[in-house]
């Protein structure tokens, strides 16, 4: 279907000139004779009259969208049996055209602004109900307006996520820019590795999703920063020769390198999952001017009651004997038997250390690494390594992705700035503060009593893996221990200072030696574990170097 200049479509739109082939059809610059403005007419080759209804449905869906970084859809009609969309004409030039006049990559700041524009558009599309996946983000679909704004063109193949009925050809891909999940396994039969991998994805029910646009956008940014098409995702699966962006363009800052790394992961399951997440990785960091360091305080006398150490409310627990462990034969051997243990007086934090708490430590120690793990499970809890800030919106969540050494470093720092002798609790101290009912002279199974109660803690009570972390104190009061501690059960594990070695507990047998190598005990269960792990007597050993998305800590200080 070729339209020539001067042709009139739908009695209204006069063809000015062709704009080129796009996904699934040709585009023409037209003049709307009624409104006297230029528009783009897109002819769809995919829809014939038999798919009329589907086309109308899609056109209506597109016409509903309204975003400054997407062209508006004005109208649709059928002419000569072919369906047409009338869209806003965006003045400017596409990125691939702009590249042809350049010998050096685009400026990093400029690319970051474009990235933000495009991510805004993608966040908007993915936020529709159901989500719309663009599926064809690439340099020739990014138009830079004379004002320098980036607009994401070509909805030709945008599809609602739930629309599983794919017509022939709806499996679209653009060499170099499409993520691997957009390629059909059948076409790769000559390449055993690829075919097998794509079959595996299919079997795992991994299809196109928001992360698909994330990949394509990452590839587009890579292009803008290097002027090179990245190697195609399929080829990368076979032989990953993606040249590091920094090698090609030394101006690219760390956080951008990291963001691209996360977006350009070949396996969709390991990739940065959403446009919002990528946008956050690309946030311009906060000012780098050094914050004033907190004043070091002279040591204070040991407290004899509750104290507040730099915002941490530390509750006094009198020294004395308590019953540690459990005789419940259903519990693993490491938790048994129940035995008498004596601990000295101490003060223990009501809440675990939050991200906001930890931020002060990080700000005060500009060279200390922030909580970060490259693992996929960690994504949402990762700190911004460039801005050195906690994940947005999680200020009152417990800090996680901290190693045992990080927790100790925090305690040492807190000692210096608060004047109290802060450290991690021993597991005996932890268990006493969590379970011991001094008035009744007995240990509770859970902080609030002996029966599990879903409404008093954050655990995965039904094994549905859908439970997420909550802010600290979410279950304050009704989930509290007799000593008033909150969050002992569930939400996140807490590091203790103790080595994970069998009972009976004896603080003098070397298990509290910080220099002995070995697993450290974590306590309290977590949001991704069942009720059993939330038992006060439950203990687990963890490699001290682990940065887990469900392990945090709370502090204690010496008392008398």
């Amino acid at each position: 279907m070729n339209l020539s200049e001067g042709m009139i479509l739908d009695n209204r739109y006069r063809v000015i000139r062709p704009l080129g082939e796009g996904g699934f059809g040709a585009a023409y610059l037209v003049e709307d004779r009624r409104l006297g403005r230029k528009c783009v007419a897109k002819a769809s080759t995919l829809h014939d009259t038999a798919h009329r209804e589907q086309f109308e449905q899609e056109a209506r869906m597109l016409a509903d969208l309204n975003h400054p970084n997407l062209p508006a859809v004005y109208d649709y009609f059928f002419d000569g049996g072919h369906p047409y969309l009338i869209m806003q004409y965006i003045e400017g030039a596409t990125l691939d055209r702009l590249k042809e006049d350049r010998s050096a990559p685009f400026e990093v700041d400029q690319v970051l602004r474009w990235a933000n524009d495009l991510l805004d558009a993608l966040v908007y599309l993915h936020g529709q109900e159901p989500p719309i996946i663009h599926r064809d983000v690439k340099p020739s679909n990014v138009c830079i307006t004379p004002e320098g704004k980036a607009v994401l063109l070509d909805f030709g193949i945008a599809r609602r996520l739930d629309q599983t009925s794919t017509r022939s050809g709806a499996q679209a891909h653009s060499m170099h820019y499409s993520p691997i999940e957009q390629y059909p396994a059948e076409a790769m039969s000559s390449y055993a590795t690829l075919k097998q991998y794509l079959d595996e994805l299919k079997a795992a029910d991994v299809h196109t999703g928001p992360y698909s646009d994330v990949y394509s956008l990452g590839a587009t940014l890579y292009f803008a920063l290097t002027l090179l098409d990245p190697p195609d995702a399929c080829l990368r699966k076979v032989d990953d020769q993606l040249r590091p962006v920094r090698e090609l363009n030394p101006d690219v800052p760390d956080f951008l390198v990291e963001a691209l790394d996360r977006a350009l992961v070949v396996d969709p399951r390991e990739r940065c999952q959403t446009a919002a997440e990528l946008r956050q990785l690309l946030q311009p960091q906060t000012s780098e001017t050094a914050l004033p360091r907190l004043r070091r305080r002279r040591p204070r006398p040991l407290p004899t009651g509750n104290v507040v150490a730099l915002g941490h409310e530390l509750l006094y627990v009198a020294g004395g004997e308590f019953l540690m462990g459990s005789d419940d034969p259903k519990l693993k051997k490491a938790c048994r038997p129940q035995h008498r243990v004596t601990v000295g007086p101490f003060c223990i934090a009501r809440f675990p250390v939050t991200n906001a708490d930890y931020q002060r430590f990080i700000d005060d120690n500009p060279d200390y690494p922030v909580p970060f793990s490259p693992m996929r499970f960690a994504q949402r809890y990762n700190w911004d390594r460039r801005a050195r800030t906690y994940p947005r919106g999680l200020e009152d969540h417990p800090v996680v992705l901290v190693t045992w050494a990080d927790a100790l470093a925090y305690c040492r720092w807190l000692s210096k700035v608060s004047g109290y002798r802060c450290r991690l609790p021993t597991e005996a101290e932890w268990e006493k503060a969590a379970a011991w009912d001094a008035a009744a002279s007995r240990a509770r199974r859970y902080p609030w009593g002996d029966e599990f109660d879903e409404s008093r803690c954050n655990v995965d009570a039904h094994g549905d893996l859908r439970v997420d972390m909550t802010p600290v104190g979410q279950f304050a009061d009704k989930g509290n221990s007799p000593y008033g501690l909150s969050d002992c059960a569930g939400n996140v594990w807490e590091w203790t200072g103790s080595l994970y070695v069998p009972y009976p507990y004896n603080a003098e047998d070397g298990r509290e030696d910080p220099n002995t190598e070995g697993q450290r005990t974590v306590r309290g269960g977590a949001y991704d574990r069942g009720p059993e792990a939330a038992l006060c007597a439950w203990r687990e050993g963890v490699d001290p170097d682990l940065r887990a998305a469900d392990i945090g800590f709370r502090v204690v200080c010496d008392a008398k």
């Binding site: 082939e21 891909h173 076409a187 195609d232």
Partner: protein, 234 residues
């Protein structure tokens, strides 16, 4: 004399196209300058159609005879004959590679057997227009990646090197062994049943490795292996 017509895809970057044309001119000039090679269809001249920017012609020697595609269709090829053909093609390609010319389009269709039984390689490809075409990908249709095209070439790697031709030569060997249909995918599992020694199977599999660093590093190395294989076979 034979004239091959190249039609350039209308979609794609003008700059890329110009680069491809310039490289092809350079390649052909290098081959012409090197003088004739017994296993090469000699190019004479490469020029653009005066009436169209998108059409180029390559004037070359007339190879005569039949293509290897036709020969394979005609009936099974004896093992020693297969090895003779492979060695001849490898010699031609080694000659090209020495001059930094990559063939990029090797398949039985670009191998000619002249009336005297001489093997000649022709039909060099000038643009990166391999099986998985960017042009077609843009319109949303993906052609099945062909049997003779290495992954790096199929997916438009920026730096296709001699090992792409090594892969394609492996696929030519495969075709002679199994005589597959034109659009049949390559099935590496079949190679275990090939009437080849264990060494032969291993060489073929390595030539067809998806990751190019797993392939023989050069056509000279392939020639070496083929020589050893020819000596071993009775």
């Amino acid at each position: 004399m034979r004239i091959k017509q190249y039609d350039v895809p209308s979609v794609g970057s003008q700059k890329e196209l110009e680069e491809a044309v310039a490289r092809f001119k350079r390649d052909m000039a290098a081959l012409i300058q090197a003088g004739s090679h017994p296993n090469l269809v000699m190019p004479y001249k490469f020029h653009r159609d005066e009436s169209s920017d998108e059409r180029y012609y390559l004037v070359m020697e007339w190879p005569g005879g039949q293509t290897l595609t036709e020969r394979i269709a005609a009936g099974p090829i004896a093992t020693e004959e297969q090895l003779r053909i492979l060695k001849s093609v490898a010699a031609a390609l080694a000659h090209c590679h020495e001059r930094q010319v990559i063939h990029r389009n090797l398949s039985p269709a670009s191998i000619y057997l002249d009336t005297d039984g001489r093997v000649k390689v022709g039909d060099f490809d000038f643009a990166r227009v391999p099986a998985v075409s960017r042009t077609l990908a843009q319109t949303g249709v993906l052609l099945v990646a062909g049997r003779h095209v290495s992954p790096e070439q199929a997916f438009h790697a920026h730096d296709v090197d001699a090992r792409a031709d090594v892969y394609s030569l492996g696929a030519v060997w495969y075709d002679m062994l199994f005589r597959p249909e034109a659009d049949e995918p390559l099935d590496r599992a079949r190679i275990a049943q090939a009437p080849l020694s264990e060494d032969g199977q291993e060489i073929l599999l390595s030539m067809l490795a998806e990751r190019r660093s797993d392939r023989p590093a050069s056509m000279v190395e392939v020639q070496h292996w083929l020589e050893l294989l020819a000596e071993d076979s009775p």
